[in-house]
């Protein structure tokens, strides 16, 4: 593509602009966070993280994200299955609706959940009567996380199911295998890569989610304070260093997951 970009004056102009844009927009800010979290010294960094409110928020976020991811893997696989294997009325509509969480502002999603499950609603009242609370408690956070990460597993599993050669299943049947065995040994392994990569993307997103969560969660440290909300609180209270410290933890975790996903995808491509 030297041919496309070879005109000298333009070339240097374009090259520097794009690289500058890239560095200033993406690289610098990320480096900035890391730098700032250690700017008052490593000791200060450790102090910020050992604040119980801080590390409890990280643990809580991890726990809730894992639960949400597991729910999503199960639900998502089921829905992907239904949308690919069965024909029924409204299938196209449902298939399009899957992408809704990608299109909808997270704050709107949070509001929707708040209205549906909050103290003023039918479900909220019913739950209260039954003795468990949803909004401003952990279940609501999990529901919010499930909502925003809904499409990931579905969209990762669908193409795998589409590519699945019916002759693989037929071969298994001709060898005497029954439905469940075929499912576990032939179909599930083909879906597994999608379930895993979709799950990891969902997990990464759930860890980071703010908009939907902040509207439905209370901010009780250790109980309903997730890291993203904690960081927000620290910024509002003018504690940027403490905010940066926890951010660094979250970021490093997310980068690790991203890197893992990349590795898996590359290995998948090689095979």
């Amino acid at each position: 593509m030297n041919s496309l970009l070879r005109h000298k004056g333009w070339t240097w102009g374009f090259r520097t602009t794009i690289l500058l844009y890239f560095v200033v927009l993406i690289v610098l800010p990320i480096l900035g966070v890391y730098y700032n979290s250690f700017s008052l010294g490593f000791g200060n960094f450790v102090e910020s993280i050992s604040d119980p409110i801080a590390w409890k928020s990280v643990l809580l976020t991890l726990k809730l994200a894992i639960i949400a991811t597991l729910i999503n893997v199960f639900l998502g696989t089921m829905i992907a299955w239904v949308l690919i294997r069965y024909q029924f009325i409204g299938k196209a509509l449902l298939n399009s609706l899957v992408d809704l969480p990608f299109a909808l502002p997270t704050a709107v999603g949070g509001l929707m959940i708040l209205l549906l499950l909050g103290p003023g609603s039918l479900i909220g009242k019913a739950a209260e009567a039954l003795g468990f609370e949803i909004v401003f408690h952990q279940p609501a956070i999990v529901i919010a996380m499930v909502f925003v990460t809904f499409p990931f597993v579905i969209r990762a599993v669908q193409p795998l199911l589409e590519e699945l050669d019916p002759s693989e299943e037929e071969a298994a049947y001709t060898m005497g295998a029954k439905g469940t065995r075929v499912f576990w040994h032939v179909i599930l392994p083909s879906m597994a890569p999608g379930m895993i990569s979709g799950g990891m993307l969902a997990f990464s997103r759930a860890l980071a989610e703010f908009g939907a969560v902040v509207l439905v969660a209370g901010n009780i440290p250790g109980r309903t304070l997730v890291s993203s909300v904690f960081i927000f609180g620290e910024v509002e209270s003018d504690n940027p260093v403490s905010a940066a410290a926890v951010s660094v933890i979250l970021l490093t975790l997310s980068f690790l997951i991203l890197w893992l996903i990349n590795m898996l995808q590359m290995r998948g491509r090689r095979s």
């Binding site: 794009i18 993406i26 639900l75 704050a107 980068f255 990349n262």
Partner: protein, 265 residues
């Protein structure tokens, strides 16, 4: 058995999407159409909607331009060595891994009034954080990968031979891009634009942190919803949210329609 799964699927969609939307619509009109209209035409609401519009337009324009260029360089440029390309490629995905609040935090740390760069800019009288430029930068960061990731696979798939052929026939840079490359990436770009619009429309966390959510100055539609909820003004929140949801639904339709066009290629 099959009916069970289909039924369950419908139930999930209902619980997760239809019911909440319905509830929100009811809430928005709980004071009748008048209440809905008043909430929308509040001065702060109009301002917030205008802010959102501004951010969406600027961010989409910039990231479309730079996104296409980035994709071209990452796939076609011979002058970047391969390992560097791989590194740049991974970096492109980083915004996906960053929580929006952290995204906002990063901008504040880098360009806020207390930072070195921020102080320089304020000296010239240019406020970045707690002002529109900061909001735009934060949204640019968050939406950056979208266009790049849409265009790159298409460029890889069509290969560089048509472009090489055009060069042997005498065509230069712009002609080759416009006549040969563009027709192939056109629909992917449109899809990327829709994704970018949807994402910048809905951006919340990063903008909340960077803008300071100053009513009538740096508030967007989403942060206004947040403010309304915090003030227990559910009707108003529902009204704005409904408008946003309607836009999202429209964007979703466009998304699905374009998805089909871009795959037919």
């Amino acid at each position: 058995m099959r009916k069970l799964w289909i039924g369950l699927t419908y139930l999930v969609f209902f619980l997760l999407i239809a019911a909440p939307l319905g509830k929100m619509a009811i809430g928005a009109f709980s004071e009748g159409f008048g209440g809905f209209w008043d909430a929308l035409t509040r001065p702060e609401a109009l301002h917030a909607l205008m802010m959102t519009g501004l951010v969406v337009i600027v961010v989409t324009l910039l990231n479309t331009l730079f996104g296409i260029m980035m994709a071209l360089y990452l796939v076609r440029a011979n002058w970047i060595n391969r390992r560097l390309k791989g590194l740049l490629n991974s970096i492109v995905d980083l915004p996906y891994a960053v929580s929006p609040v952290i995204g906002g935090l990063m901008i504040v740390l880098l360009l806020g009034p207390d930072s070195a760069l921020g102080a320089i800019f304020e000296g010239i009288g240019l406020k970045i954080v707690y002002a529109i430029p900061g909001m735009i930068i934060a949204t640019l960061f968050v939406t950056f990968p979208l266009m790049v990731r849409e265009v790159m696979p298409v460029l890889q798939e069509i290969g560089s031979q048509q472009e090489e052929a055009a060069s042997t026939l005498g065509a230069r840079g712009w002609t080759i891009f416009w006549k040969v490359t563009w027709p192939s990436i056109r629909w992917a770009v449109v899809y990327g634009v829709i994704l970018t619009v949807a994402r910048s429309l809905g951006e919340f966390g990063a903008v909340l942190v960077v803008s300071g959510n100053i009513m009538n100055k740096t508030q967007t539609a989403t942060t206004l919803v947040y403010q309304d909820v915090e003030n227990f003004n559910v009707t108003a929140a529902g009204g704005i949210a409904l408008v946003l949801a309607a836009f999202s639904a429209g964007l979703l339709l466009l998304m699905e329609w374009t998805k089909r066009r871009k795959e037919v290629q």
